[in-house]
């Protein structure tokens, strides 16, 4: 579906966003990110039959949600991501590894939103989604890095 370059690029984008989450000065504002997601939605509307723009839209929506898990717009943005992933799943030629990665990321965001309740609830889903993504495509950097980030996060949360 998406080329290896765009996957690596996506992985870089995600981790740039995640890494900067603790650096308030460099953190993109919620409005900036929402505008970016809105622009991707417009691009997606220009090419409704292409998977690439949908992938980017879902990914950036999840990026916003993981950075602003309790913003007023987050539930809508997550709903958009879920809807987009659902649309991708129905399209011919959708890369199953990418779909698993996005699904894992979606559950991961749910855990970030409410670790106490959703940690135990979605932990297995996140792990299985990333494992399946890597099984289907061992070169899926985004899945590997998200999995690593997730395990680190869980370790920190449970060692507190």
């Amino acid at each position: 579906m998406t080329s290896q370059i765009s996957k690596q690029l996506a992985a870089i984008i995600v981790f740039v966003f995640i890494q900067v989450i603790n650096i308030q000065a460099q953190q993109p504002s919620a409005d900036d990110m929402l505008n970016h997601v809105a622009r991707l939605k417009r691009i997606e509307a220009m090419q409704p039959d292409s998977i690439g723009p949908k992938y980017q839209l879902a990914l950036q929506s999840l990026n916003f949600a993981v950075m602003y898990p309790h913003a007023p717009q987050t539930e809508n943005v997550l709903a958009q991501a879920e809807q987009t992933i659902g649309q991708m799943a129905k399209m011919k030629g959708a890369d199953q590894s990418d779909l698993c990665t996005l699904n894992g990321f979606l559950y991961m965001v749910r855990i970030v939103q409410n670790p106490a309740q959703n940690g135990q609830r979605y932990y297995i889903d996140v792990m299985q989604a990333f494992e399946k993504a890597l099984k289907l495509n061992p070169d899926n950097d985004l899945a590997r890095q998200l999995q690593q980030k997730f395990l680190e996060g869980m370790k920190q949360a449970t060692e507190r």
Binding site: N35, A38, R39, A45, M46, Q117, R121, Y123, E131, K132
Partner: protein
Amino acid sequence: MKHRMTHIVLLLLAVCNMTAQTIISGTVTDGKERLVGANVFVLGTIDGCLTDSLGRFSFSTSQMGETTLKVTFIGYDDFTLVADASQLHDLSIRMNERASTIDEVVVSASTFSFGKSEHFKTMDALDVVMAGNSCGDIVAALQTLPGTQTVGEDGKLYVRGGESEECQTFINGMHVLVPYSTNTENTAVRGRFSPFLFKGINFSLGGYSGEYGQALSSVLPMETADMATSDKYGVSASLVDWNIGGTKAFTTSSLSFNAALTSMGLYDRLFSQRQDFTRPYRKLSGEAQYKKEYGNTGVLKSYVGYDLTSVGLHTDERNLSLKEHNFYANVTYKASMGRGLTFFTGIANSSVFGDIDNAVTSGDHYHNFRNEVHLKTEIRKVCSETLKLSTGVEDYIRSSHLSFAPYRYHLDYNILAAHADAQWRVFPHVFLNVSSRVECMRNDWLLLPRTTLSYIPNKSVQFSFVAGRYSQMAKDDYLAQGLNSLSQSTADHLILSMQYKSKATLLRIEPYWKEYHHLPFMEHAVCQPHGYGTSKGVDVFLEDHSLMRNLTTTVSYSYNDSKRLYLDYTEIRTPDYASRHNLRLTAKYAIGKTIVGLTDSYTSGRVFPHGTTPYYNSVDVNLTYLLSPKVIVYTSLNNVLGRTNIFRYDSAGSPVTASRDRFFYIGIFVSLKNNKAYDISNF
């Protein structure tokens, strides 16, 4: 001069450029309120913006002439306007809320769903394990829900005034003949399936669709977990059970196994009890699962489980000895065939051998063998956003043999059934489910129409009205005593369901009414289908997450007024298993690596010929602690206050109580595979 010309040209170009930009502006509302964050843009370009906090938008575009303006907002239909770009200013755009498609809507009337069979889950296997006094038993955990009644002397599911046999269990759509483990009389049994087997548990308290039959009151369909993606191995140990299991994942398939030994021997030595067991309760269980995915369209799931249970009890001057072999296996295949078409087929076999020495008097021997083969095929089709159809056929082939000298019987019969089901979005917020089920047994045909009408104005509120007829063949013992005169019992359900759900609160109120016909009734020592009865009441369920961070509380209350003429009753009366009021209060609080649970269960007295029992009350506490990412410790204490609850009175008028007032459980669950922390499931 040259510079002046340049400035003039640049100025002209700038002016031309300015005139080429058109400002598009306006407001977006849903007719009542302004929509904040709607995406307004010119289709085919990235020119656009999000609406501000007042629902306003304004942006410039280089588009000229006919322009398509599009507005999108989650939960609303896309808005499209085609007009000349110059006219797209000061617009007042009204968006319409998007009606759920038939595939998206989840009618929750009379059903509690756990796990993740469809959307995001609300409760999973760990919640089941940690529910009040469940000790990892699905059946006990479900008894914290409204509509269920506490019947302490057998621990089974009794729903809305119905007998325990009226609730039937299905795994991946296939029937389970005996879903409980066995034990001696007046001792609570447990469900025989581990909660970790399942990714989805749907407990329907009535009004279920035509897919499910042979259940008068309720159904418990459970869906096993998906194919594992990696290897995992785990062990667990407690005072009463020891468990080892694991999963080997292959590229497109996975194989799981689990072995468990439950023994009360150690516990009986450590803690005193009222009953005199000559041989402690022991259960040896083995389970295996094989799952295979065929591309992205087909899934094969198979399950096989075997339990061997034995126990010896000294009672009434005799040594009762019980042994049971319980075997269950099923294979299902589900395939998506494109164009919204799904095909499902399955086969299941249940075989239960029960033997009791000295069952009633010294020297007697009771032997019972029950077998069921369940065959099922179904086709589902999503025809459009407003219509979904399904149809299927199934066959229950049963045989039963009992010998208890001098009495004996042998039964062979089958029940053939077909069903058709239509789910239709009549109006944007009105959904109708109409189904019909036909059953045939010994040339007796039965038509069972069912319907659910739901009004779902938004994601927070649901109103449903459910009406339907349900049937079930009487237990084999009654069937044998019926001398071929017994027909299927039927029950008519009428249910009104009202639900409010917000981010932090779920409130459900369900009044219901049931009328039973053709219940087995003893007339001149022959079981006849002349029994009848009614059951009416209301269930209330409130779940809240808003009182304190990380605190979940639930209130579950059931009122039931049930009466029936049934079996050997001399007159129409309240069945002795039914209690009028059932109240359960639960609280679960997470602090770091610890989760603490508290449950209080109250049940009003039950009516027996020898009198009414005192009320039942039990306060239970439990604690789950994450010792390390791979080790979880779970402990619980049931009936903390030590109240001696009287469950019932026997035929001599003596009170029947639990073998011990309190029950203490402590277990440790260890995940052996490195990357599988926090996962105590072996499947």
